[in-house]
Symmetry: C2
Subunit: 146 residues, 2 copies
């Protein structure tokens, strides 16, 4: 089990890929995205429909249609995608699954786990959806098993 659900992993990879295509001036279809990020096509379609409904990505139907990301949405933190897909448990949940764990009623892992959560939050906050396009373009960073 990873830190994020599979759905969320696919979503993050797809969004980076779409962002990269958008910067290059192209809309991109579900088939291409799925194949480029190694995800099941129909399943990814559902995920992107959801992100589209929530306004995190955009799409147009028909010939030359496909997915893209609005200019300002490119500056959103990746955290927005994670929250949309997995909810916010990862940002403030207890490591041991206790509903009432808190500073005043801490679980055994509380203080150390807080650092983990903070690091995750930091990672997802400083990372924006559109920020890797250069590296993706020149192959310095990968979305796929190469």
């Amino acid at each position: 089990m990873g830190v994020f659900s599979k759905t969320c992993e696919y979503a993050m990879r797809a969004v980076f890929y779409i962002a990269s295509s958008t910067i290059s001036g192209n809309r991109v279809g579900i088939k291409e995205i799925a194949s480029k990020i190694d995800s099941p096509e129909y399943f990814l379609a559902k995920i992107l429909q959801d992100l589209s409904r929530k306004g995190l990505i955009s799409s147009v139907k028909g010939p030359n249609g496909g997915f893209y990301i609005e200019g300002e949405a490119l500056n959103r933190p990746l955290a927005d995608i994670v929250t949309a897909v997995d909810g916010d448990e990862i940002f403030n949940g207890c490591g041991m699954g206790l509903a009432h764990c808190s500073e005043t009623n801490p679980c055994p892992l509380h203080h150390e786990f807080k650092k983990v959560r903070n690091q995750i939050t930091h990672m997802l906050t400083i990372t924006t959806i559109g920020q890797f396009n250069k590296e993706l373009g020149n192959g310095l960073i990968s979305l796929k098993k190469s």
Copy 2:
């Protein structure tokens, strides 16, 4: 979705509870553990059977039987429990689910996610199974919604 599976959360809570009882000189039965850590009894039974088979905890059947933890097992890192239940993906998996993500073929999150993983590993390595007994005993730390 949390960082650990529900199974793993129950396992960690149960192990801390058993350790605490062991230090107090008692074996503890499945009913008591389940009720004290807020977990489904039969499900927890399966989990503890598994941990017992793997030698991480011990048990005896019959009257006055129950679960306990051998002296030296109390010094094991919590990481051993997590590995037994959830495997080692949490310690070295890619944040975006890419099988071939690595230093030389990094995903967009690689460098930041490495810090997350390291923090998790650190937390689970420095934390030993038996180390919270004092705090648990005096109520400074909790395994249950109180």
